[in-house]
Amino acid sequence: MSKVIVSKDKCKQCGYCVKHCPKQAISFSADFNSSGFKYAVVDDSKCIACGMCYTTCPDGVFEITE
């Protein structure tokens, strides 16, 4: 099964993935990453590994494994 790996420290909180995840599986963290941003968090139970988050993210936060 595919899975999404999130490199949280790369996230800059732009919100593109949150907006475009077809399953609303992504939300922002409560805390900050090392760069001072609230980062994207994926709800694995909702995620269908469609890769939309990978596609929209400008900062290479996501990896979809096979």
Partner: protein, 246 residues
């Protein structure tokens, strides 16, 4: 539709752009296309002067540091002397259409067989958001604080259309990034543009409407909205010219 997706390995480190900047997406698309076309080891990217300058050391492929605006000229000789190499000129709109207008147009005029990707973010991002020739009428920039006055500075320029209609090049398209679907289309344009080069058909250029949240003074999501509402009507998306393969 489970298929692995991973940032191309030739991108060595996180790109250093502002949050939500389109450069990050476009650089990834470019590197994906290079990888997928099998040119990871026979490629040269022309890097401009502009926010893309920040790519220094970020890409593990040969990356030429061009003079501001002039990569239309520099890529010409590189491609002529190394015809088998995939040569890609990545340029800002200020770079390609303002200072480098002559070089950009002349390369297309001569039908030089390399690929240009221009990032149309409607201003000079790097230097603090001054007016570019792509800035919209009324747009507030650092050099048009009361909004762009097109009476004095002209209507925004549409270089892809000019090239497509004036010169006998291979491929011209304009894409954007505001939905995953648009991003995928844009990627397909970039890939076709590179393919046209590989096939020796001729010069190819893809312009990408890209957000600059920092200088637009908008959030990333609002920036994408602005593209949809304000830019796309003036800068239509799609393939403008496609001469097809050999």
């Amino acid at each position: 539709m489970a298929k692995g997706k991973k940032v191309p390995e030739k991108i060595l480190r996180q790109v250093p752009f502002c949050p939500g900047c389109g450069h990050g997406i476009i650089v990834r698309l470019m590197m994906e296309c290079i990888e997928e076309l099998g040119y990871n080891d026979n490629v040269l990217i022309g890097k401009p002067v502009g926010c893309a300058s920040l790519l220094d050391n970020a890409l593990a492929v040969d990356t030429f540091t061009g003079a501001h605006g002039r990569n239309g000229a520099s890529m010409t000789t590189i491609k002529r002397l190394k015809p088998d190499m995939l040569v890609v000129s990545y340029q800002g709109d200020g770079d390609a259409y303002n200072i480098g207008f002559s070089e950009t147009m002349n390369a297309a005029y001569r039908n030089e067989k390399f690929t240009v990707i221009t990032i149309n973010n409607g201003n000079f991002g790097m230097t603090g958001g001054q007016m570019a020739w792509t800035s919209m009428p009324g747009q507030v920039t650092a050099t048009s604080v009361n909004g762009r006055n097109v009476e004095l500075s002209g209507m925004p320029i549409r270089v892809p259309e000019m090239i497509a209609s004036s010169f006998d090049t291979a491929y011209v398209a304009r894409g954007s990034l505001f939905t995953p679907a648009e991003i995928k289309k844009t990627k397909s344009y970039i890939k076709k543009a590179m393919q046209a080069q590989i096939d020796g058909v001729g010069h190819s250029l893809v312009e990408v409407l890209s957000p600059c949240p920092t200088n637009w003074g908008l959030t990333p999501l609002a920036s994408m909205e602005r593209i949809v509402n304000e830019l796309v009507p003036y800068f239509p998306l799609g393939e403008i010219k496609n001469k097809g393969g050999k």
